[in-house]
């Protein structure tokens, strides 16, 4: 699997390269600034890109902008965005095109190599990987409001895990229920959020987006 890495700090870049290589990824390019990334992503078209939000020269959100730009050029290009902090605003922008293949994680998540690589693979396969912090921020503020779209607490829980990018099997394991029960919950969620029938992956992304947009 070919990966492009964009990270300006040498130590982190090096660490990411070694980690991903250890798990059998092929590093197509390792980039340390925004403009180069903007040029490289559409031309290399990697299987997945791991991108830091903040990159030189302006150290603002160049990485994110480059990722969004690349996804406009190459729809659905899988991008996993890493950051020192997570913002719902950015999560929403990443998911806005509804085509999946998007991840948004805190840099700390790299510590847990297995989980991190799992997230990279999920994004490469067109799924999502939202940082649990994004979800918990959402929950913190929504706790006072109406439950989203009339979801039951259980359905909400499923949606949360879905937002993190977990598969039905993983959700079932986490909630200690059968996979069939989870499948039933997810189809209820899709129905309640009024998502048109389409392939399951895409609907999952849309459900997460609805979750994020709820405000």
């Amino acid at each position: 699997m070919r990966v492009v890495i964009a990270e300006d700090l040498f130590l982190l870049r090096d660490g990411l390269i070694r980690l991903l290589e250890a798990y059998g990824f092929e590093i197509a390019a390792a980039i340390d600034n925004g403009p180069e990334l903007t040029r490289a992503l559409p031309s290399i078209k990697p299987d997945v890109a791991v991108v830091d939000v903040r990159l030189p020269p302006s150290f603002t959100d160049e990485g994110l902008q480059a990722a969004l730009h690349a996804r406009r050029e190459v729809p659905g290009l899988p991008v996993l965005v890493l950051s020192q902090h997570v913002e719902q605003l950015y999560a929403r922008e990443l998911l806005a095109d509804g085509s999946g293949g998007v991840g948004y994680l805190l840099k700390d998540r790299v510590f847990d190599a297995d989980q991190f690589v799992d997230a990279v693979r999920r994004v490469a396969a067109g799924g999502t990987a939202m940082d649990p912090q994004v979800i918990s921020q959402l929950l913190a503020r929504n706790s006072r409001n109406q439950p989203l779209g009339g979801l039951t607490p259980r359905e909400r829980e499923v949606l949360e895990l879905m937002a993190e990018g977990r598969s039905n099997a993983a959700i079932a394991q986490r909630l200690v229920v059968t996979e069939r029960a989870v499948a039933k919950h997810t189809s209820n969620i899709f129905a309640k959020l009024d998502l048109p029938p389409s392939d399951d992956d895409n609907r999952r992304v849309l459900a997460v987006l609805a979750f994020l947009n709820e405000s």
Partner: protein, 420 residues
């Protein structure tokens, strides 16, 4: 519309003339008497009281000049120092008042207002009103006047028959039109005249400015020092302590690696836990110092991110074509954040609207909520603190919060936009 405005100006002219006759004259006499009574010593108590009344009255005139005729007059008084208790304080207060040139300019204004101000007000009212009097004569009232004894002079027209009454009516129309045309200008001129004495002199303006700058600078330094202390404490108790714990765990791991691999593993997991907690704490700290979204996206998106995190339903409109200066941006961000927190905590509001725009080198932020209102600057809600912090940038905060709501907080900061 225009006629209405002119009529209003004329009536306001009459009101000011009456006020000048009653208020200005009486206060002038009071002041002179109380000051003369300083010689037997009574004035030491009387002058401050009368001056307070004079200042209240002058401030009313300042406000009316702005609200009625659009002439802005700033307050010129020396800031009130802290007085000691007892007789020394009384003398201090007396000296504070008597040594302030603004007191004497006020007194001078009282006499000017009682004469010139009165005359202008009466003129603004009487000129348009004299017109209808001509029409009244023309309508037939000239007859009884004529029969009673020789006829009335309407300015230079001696009204003795219908023919001259017609002339008076025509002249009345001229007066009426002229009066309406001039009423606003005359009253504006009267206000400008008042401004000559009521506004701070150039010197006083600079003095006030220096006083303001001194105060806001010391506020800024205090805030900054407190902020640094908080950061120091947070780092000391948080991340730093965690790193120490991590180092100790790792040292122990090194030791236990061979003897007790199970325990070493557990300690490693603990160390990792510590590191991720330290990161979380650092992240929160950074958010408090300078939120990353603000650095990355500027004020508009940073406030949008705030709105998303707020438990209230918050709508944000931002018209900011470009980035603001960094310190202003940060001050504005924390001010909005504080107001939002206040709204969530105290107002009982469901919805909040934030409107930010940049016009004529000023950033203007209006935050409105649909809560119960009744907020008060002095109510310890932190609004005073925001006001002070904005003051460092010559910014101002206005609060409008009638009981029953809604509450509207308006902030304005002078600043320049840079291109994005």
């Amino acid at each position: 519309m225009k006629i209405g405005a002119a009529m209003l100006a004329a009536v306001r002219g009459l009101a000011l003339a009456l006020l000048a006759m009653l208020g200005s004259l009486v206060l002038f006499v009071f002041f002179v008497v109380s000051f003369v009574l300083s010689i037997p010593g009574l004035g030491i108590f009387l002058v401050p009281v009368v001056t307070a009344a004079v200042r209240g009255y002058a401030n009313l005139r300042r406000r009316l000049a702005y609200e009625w005729f659009g002439v802005e007059i700033k307050s010129p008084y020396k800031p009130r120092p802290r007085f000691r208790r007892g007789p020394i304080g009384v003398v201090q207060r007396y000296r504070w008042i008597v040594s302030d040139p603004a007191t004497w300019r006020d007194v001078l204004w009282l006499i000017v207002d009682a004469t010139a101000g009165f005359a202008l007000g009466i003129f603004a009212f009487a000129l348009p009103m004299y017109g209808p009097y001509g029409w009244v004569l023309w309508a037939g009232v000239w007859k009884p006047i004529f029969h009673a004894g020789g006829g009335d002079w309407y300015t230079f027209v001696h009204v003795t028959n219908q023919d001259t009454a017609n002339k008076a009516a025509v002249l009345g129309v001229v007066y009426f039109a002229l009066g309406l045309l001039l009423a606003r200008q005359v009253m504006r001129a009267s206000s400008v005249l008042a401004r000559g004495l009521l506004a701070p002199t150039r010197e006083r303006e600079l003095e006030l400015r220096v006083a303001h700058l001194t105060e806001s600078r010391s506020d800024a330094l205090d805030t900054q020092a407190a902020e640094l202390r908080r950061i120091e404490r947070d780092l000391h108790d948080g991340a730093q302590a965690r790193l120490v714990a991590m180092g100790m765990s790792l040292g122990a791991v090194e030791h236990l690696m061979e003897r007790d691999p199970e325990k070493a593993k557990r300690l490693l997991a603990e160390a990792r836990e510590s590191s991720s907690k330290a990161l979380t704490e650092l992240r929160d700290l950074v958010r408090g110092i300078h939120p990353p979204v603000l650095a990355e996206r500027g004020l508009g998106d940073a406030v949008r991110a705030l709105a998303m995190a707020s438990p209230l339903h918050t709508e944000v409109t931002a018209e900011l074509p470009g980035r603001l200066e960094a310190p202003v941006e940060s001050a504005a961000y924390f001010a909005v954040s504080e107001v939002l927190t206040n709204a969530a905590k105290h107002s009982g509001a469901q919805r909040v609207w934030i409107d930010m725009r940049h016009e004529a080198d000023r950033l203007r932020i209006v935050i409105t909520d649909d809560g119960r209102g009744g907020a008060d600057l002095s109510g310890g809600t932190g609004l005073r603190g925001i006001e002070r912090r904005l003051g460092t940038f010559d910014g101002v905060l206005a609060l409008n919060s009638p009981v029953g709501g809604p509450t509207m907080v308006t902030m304005e900061l002078p600043c320049v936009l840079s291109s994005p």
